[in-house]
Structures are given as structure tokens and as C-alpha cells.
Subunit: 200 residues, 2 copies
Amino acid sequence: MGVDRELWLRNKEVMYKRLLNDLHIGYLDEDIEEVLLEIFKRRDSYTVSSCSGRIVMVDCVLPWIRRNSTVVFKKHKPISREEFLDLLSKPILYNLWVVITSPIIHVVTADLKEARRILVIGREAGFKHSGIISIRRDGIILELRSGVGLTQIVKAGSKILVDISNVDELVSMYNNVLTSGKERLEKLKELLRKYSEEEH
Amino acid sequence: MGVDRELWLRNKEVMYKRLLNDLHIGYLDEDIEEVLLEIFKRRDSYTVSSCSGRIVMVDCVLPWIRRNSTVVFKKHKPISREEFLDLLSKPILYNLWVVITSPIIHVVTADLKEARRILVIGREAGFKHSGIISIRRDGIILELRSGVGLTQIVKAGSKILVDISNVDELVSMYNNVLTSGKERLEKLKELLRKYSEEEH
């Protein structure tokens, strides 16, 4: 049940090099890079994968069923009225869904004590749906995730289910949801800095 | 860090009496009662709170901000076309959101080994967003939760954002999402029974 600290540290070093490389080539989303660096600075934590939050449009029956599902739009920044109307006008196979997710960060800690610490900080920053998703020899894996998000059907077959005459309100709300998720990243960064100063 | 087994067992007994009482007065949602009983049957697990999945309509700015938020409709069964149209026609203060959540179960285990076991079973049943949310002296607390759900804005102020002429497609999709969540409860019950037989 215990974590193999040597193995954990080797993996942290590999992931740190990868992070620096991603930063260097500009692959990393700027909204999230500072948070990831704060987590790496902690002696007993590192991150493996993350998403800074995004707007996705999917042609599918139901968005959690991967089979026959096609992503027709994906953006980590606000969507424009034109982009949305354009996508809405194109033919689809099943249903068209707008799915907005808030930031998700996977953290690997070297022990349970640190895992609990990260959980508490995460929850304080508004990542209320966070939890330990796996306990393994190479580390304790946590998922930081908030309840901020939207999953909305906008078209069924050829029938548009939203009222086009009020498209401005709709698009503005989509962008509002995206921003609202990203604000929690900022809060998480601040809290990580605050607690890191207190711990040292 | 260790769980106090005596304390844990006393709490399990209290929660078991409460469950039997809820069953007796018919307070418990029938969709979920068999799953809860299967979890209680396990030596090292019990449940504290649960929801079998529901459709809620909320008058609020954003559904994850509780302040100034009013639940105007709540039902654990499918919504009818008439119920939906009636709610859509009534005046609101902010925005009207339809929020459909899939089943959520909180499990308390006596040790980490059992927590990992429940996580694996939960994930196999489709509760993909499950995790350990707290490690305490009175037990390890897990949340079983799936990604199935919908969060949709249908009205902003007095402007209706959905196309009323296609209301049947919309309501049918809402009920589809609700049912799709509840199916995972059935799957969870089957898996708990299967693994319980294998373990004994």
C-alpha cells in the first residue's frame, strides 16, 4: 500500500522536464502554467495532466457516450457569436451539444498527508468535486475539479432547439461559464502561494 | 491517520438504523435503496447520503452560486412537457436553468483497501468521477458520481432561449439524460452483488 518514494521522485523528474519543455515550446495553456509550477514547487507533489477549461461542441447522441461522437469545435478561449451560429447552421448526424468544462488538474503526491493537504487547498479554491482517484505504488493520484460547467443540447437532428433571436444572451452565458471556471485557477494559484509561505 | 474501527462501527450501526427507518416510512427513493443495502452488507462499508438522480430547475445567475438562488422545481422522475412549459412561462428574477444530476452516493469505509475496492467497482459501473474526498479518524469518505448530467440555461430574464416549437425534443432529451444516469445505479447494484459473491 505504501508509495515507493524513489520511483515517485524519478517520475516527478521526468514530468518536470516535460513541463519545462511544454513551457518552452508554448504548448502549455498560459492560464494554467503558473498553477502547475506552484504544485511542482511543493516537495511532495507534481502534476501529470491538466486542462485550463474549454468550450467543446460535439455531434453525438449523448456527450458521455464516446461511440459515434465527433468533436466539431474546441477552444480554450471564449466563443464568438459567429462561430456559434456557423456551427449551428451546419448539418450534423445526431445531436449537437455545447459542453463547457472548468479546469481539471491531476496531481500525484508522495503520501496521503500531502494528498489531504492538496484536497483541502483545492476545495478552498472552489474545486469542490475533487478527490483521490487512485492509490498506487508510484503515488497517490488526485483529481482537482469544480462543479462549474455547462452541458447543453442545442440541436437534435436538423431541429435547432435554441432560440436564434436570443443568440447573444446564449453566447454571453457560455463565455461567462468559461470565465467563471478559470477564475478558480487564479484563486488556486494564490492559495498555493499563501500556504507555501506559511509552511516554510 | 488510522481509522478508529470502534468509532466507525458505532457510526455504521447508527446509519443502518436510520436507513431501515427511512425504508419503513417510504422516505427512501426506490431507485437507490437496493444499492444502499448492498453497500451496507459489506463488512467494511456503509453509506451516509445519496441521491438517485433528479431534474431541478433553478432561478439564479449561475447554478453553482447559491446566493439569490431559488429552486422552482425538483423531481426524481421524468418531467412532463406541461410541467416544463408551465415553468418556462412564469416570471423569474435572474436566469432559469435546467440541472439534471445523475446518482451520487457517499460511502464511508473502515480502511483504504476497502475504499480502493469500492472505487474500482464504482468506476466499472460508470461512476467515472468518483474519488476519496476525505480521510478521517471516523472513516474514509468516498463520493461515487458519474459524468452523466445536463446544465442548461433556458431563460435569461424575460427572454426564452430555447425554441418552444421543438419542446418535445428538448423534454425527451431531459428525460433521456435522467434515465441514462439511473441505469448506472442498476449496473452498480449488479456489480456489488457479483463481487460480494466472489469475495465470500
